[in-house]
Amino acid sequence: MAKLKTEQLKKSFGDLEVLKGLDLEVKEGEIVVIIGPSGSGKSTFLRCMNLLEEVNGGKVIVDGHDLTDPSQNINNVRENIGMVFQQFNLFPHLSVTDNITLAPKQLKKLSNSEGKELSLKLLKSVGMEDKAEVYPSSLSGGQKQRVAIARALAMDPDIMLFDEPTSALDPEMVGEVLAVMKRLAQEGMTMVVVTHEMGFAREMADRVIFMDGGYIVETGTPEEIFSTPKHERTRDFLDKVL
């Protein structure tokens, strides 16, 4: 069964239709990387997968739950979908530990000591255990994004969505974030990643999706997309970015 599925997903901003009926199935443990030019709708597509954007048509089905059904408790489903943002979106008024434990404490009624334990375990997994008590403002961009990943993992999700996680980083910090993502992938996490890091796509993706103009233009293995792209537009795009 598909872990995450969209059926004829449509999204408009005012009169502008940015997603024009997208079908996608992500299997458990699969790494799907979405590439495409800016304005192609790939970030919006990702944000529809946990309904951060309201959709105007079609369905989003996660673990058999239809998120577009108004009777569906969206919060319960979101607990199971971690999300990492381009701008990190760490909570600046909370320490690193409090950033990570806010949701588990509120939703799973974790005690302080359980929260500390969880936070340390997650920080260790992203190599940030020495920064548990500092505030986000004292961290570098790469460190912030690693904490953001730890935070997204705090509710123990089955699916992780990455929205251009390295685009706001200085080049020398991209590696440390990609390394954390690779380890997650190797541990069997189901992941949907919107990125411009073609290296990551080629190396880690089970499937690469090329989007343009609100459509999925082409889907395939990294080998198929990067070596033998079928569509003109895919070729044009890859020529420009590679």
Binding site: E79, G82, N89, F91, L102, A103, L107, M155
Partner: protein
């Protein structure tokens, strides 16, 4: 999120109504205590002496008659024109305030037998030799008190000799206007003017007093007829037993003691306790109103921040209405109009708190809205993506950050609210500014007094601002 379905007019009424339930004022019944309005500053008829007691011809006559007739009363000093409105709207049961009996007033009120004969007179600066008659006033500026017989005389003079008329709320300010040279002359009831000059006011009488004007005690038309009867009966008694003459002699006799006039520091020293009492009342008004406004303003502010269109509109209507009404108008509305519409009585202090809270709420709501809007959109998204519900996300993530953004403007609003309390003196709340006015009415030392009052505001606001900045720094440290 209570009362979210009601419009702001409803909120208005509900607040006023709840306030009335919480702080009921006894409406006078037979044998009970009457509420009598008087002027705040109208020596020698009513003024506060050095011991802070209200004294004067009116006050002493009322006291003597009450004793003679055996009724209880509570004195409610307020500006003359506010007193008239209070009587008209049954906020008070009677009024004694050196009030001339005129045909217009007799249409609205029932008057007692006249208890004092006084006509208006024109006064000018001591060394002004130019103005000796009404004709000399032509082209000059004349100061009068709103709604008085003096103001009517000014209108009559204006018919024959065109003059410029300046209107004031109390006598002391009117005198000051002449002393400062803004107005060339003031028109005031003769005994009041004569008393002030006797007390050292640097004016002189430039015309003979008009005759035919008499003071009377008033009740609202067809209200409290028994009170009026008692007043008339008591008046006859105290005139017969000589009490009346004693009282008049006490204030208008040959040698009333001159007002002590020993400079800035003497004035401050003598009135320090009184000023501090006024300051405390100012602070209580500010703190209570601001606390209410913080709570209500946060709720209304959140209304405008939610995705719900209906709540947005409610917040918008509230803010638009309350920001669009001047505070002084709102104060009169709350003190006179609302109680009349609802058939209740509320204290001036309650009306003041309601006025100031409603007004401040609108501004706080705007700051809350602005503060929330200034928090990055990604913060709410990050919280929601973790599965946190909207309310928790706002409470734990967005609002703490919004508060930090809002603090400077909230401190600013607090200072504005504190200063706005002075406007509430119009409905008779004796806060710091009104305290200053009362002291001036007795001491005739307005320039020193306003410097003192200004300095007190300045010092207290500076201290509070410094304190708030300290708190702000502590809060913002972890950001």
């Amino acid at each position: 999120m209570i009362r979210k379905s009601k419009g702001s007019i409803g909120l208005f009424a509900v607040v006023a109504f709840v306030a009335a339930l919480l702080f009921p004022m006894p409406v006078s019944a037979e044998g009970e205590s009457y509420i009598i309005a008087t002027d705040v500053t109208y020596a020698p008829f009513e003024f506060q002496n050095e011991e802070d007691e209200y004294v004067g011809i009116d006050i002493d006559i009322l006291e003597a008659i009450a004793e003679d007739q055996g009724f209880e009363y509570e004195l409610r000093p307020m500006n003359f024109s506010a007193g008239l409105q209070a009587l008209e709207t049954n906020q008070v049961d009677g009024m004694i305030a050196g009030m001339s009996i005129t045909p217009e007033r007799e249409e609205a009120f029932d008057f007692s037998e006249p208890y004092f004969d006084a006509g208006p007179v024109v006064a000018v600066q001591e060394d002004n030799e130019e103005i000796q008659s009404y004709a000399d006033l032509e082209g000059k500026t004349v100061a009068v008190k709103v709604g008085t017989v003096g103001a009517e005389l000014a209108e009559e003079i204006n018919q024959d000799y065109p003059i410029e008329i300046n209107q004031f709320e109390d006598s002391a300010t009117m005198y000051e206007d002449v002393l400062a040279g803004h107005s060339d002359a003031a028109i005031e009831d003769y005994p009041v003017m004569a008393y002030a000059i006797q007390q050292g006011l640097a004016l002189r009488l430039s015309t003979e007093p008009e005759s035919g004007s008499s003071y009377g005690f008033a009740v609202n038309k067809e209200q409290n007829p028994e009170l009026l009867e008692m007043f008339n009966a008591g008046l006859v008694n105290i005139m017969e037993d000589g009490t009346y003459d004693e009282i008049v002699e006490r204030y208008l006799g040959e040698s009333p003691e001159a007002a002590a006039n020993n400079g800035f520091f003497g004035l401050l020293e003598r009135n320090f306790g009184r000023l501090m009492t006024g300051l405390v009342r100012t602070l209580i008004l500010t703190l209570v109103s601001f606390a209410i406004a913080l709570l209500a303003g946060t709720i209304i502010g959140l209304f405008s921040a939610t995705p719900s269109k209906a709540l947005n509109i409610i917040a918008d209507i509230y803010v638009t209405i309350l920001r669009g009404i001047p505070l002084i108008v709102l104060a009169f509305f709350m003190y006179f109009t609302v109680p009349q519409l609802l058939g209740i009585q509320i204290t001036a202090f309650m009306a003041g708190v309601i006025t100031l809270s409603l007004n401040t709420t609108a501004y706080v709501a705007e700051q809350v809205r602005g503060g929330i809007a200034a928090v990055e959109k990604g913060q709410l998204e990050a919280a929601r993506s973790l599965g946190l519900p909207y309310g928790v996300s706002m409470r734990k993530v967005v609002i703490p950050q919004a508060i930090k953004i809002m603090i400077p403007s909230l401190i600013n609003q607090f200072v504005i609210t504190l200063k706005d309390t002075s406007i509430l003196s119009v409905i008779g709340i004796v806060e710091l500014t009104q305290t200053g006015r009362i002291i001036i009415a007795r001491s005739y030392q307005s320039s020193s007094m306003w410097i003192i009052v200004g300095l007190i505001y300045l010092i207290i606001i500076t201290l509070l601002t410094k304190l708030s900045n300290l708190i702000e720094r502590r809060l913002v440290k972890n950001g």
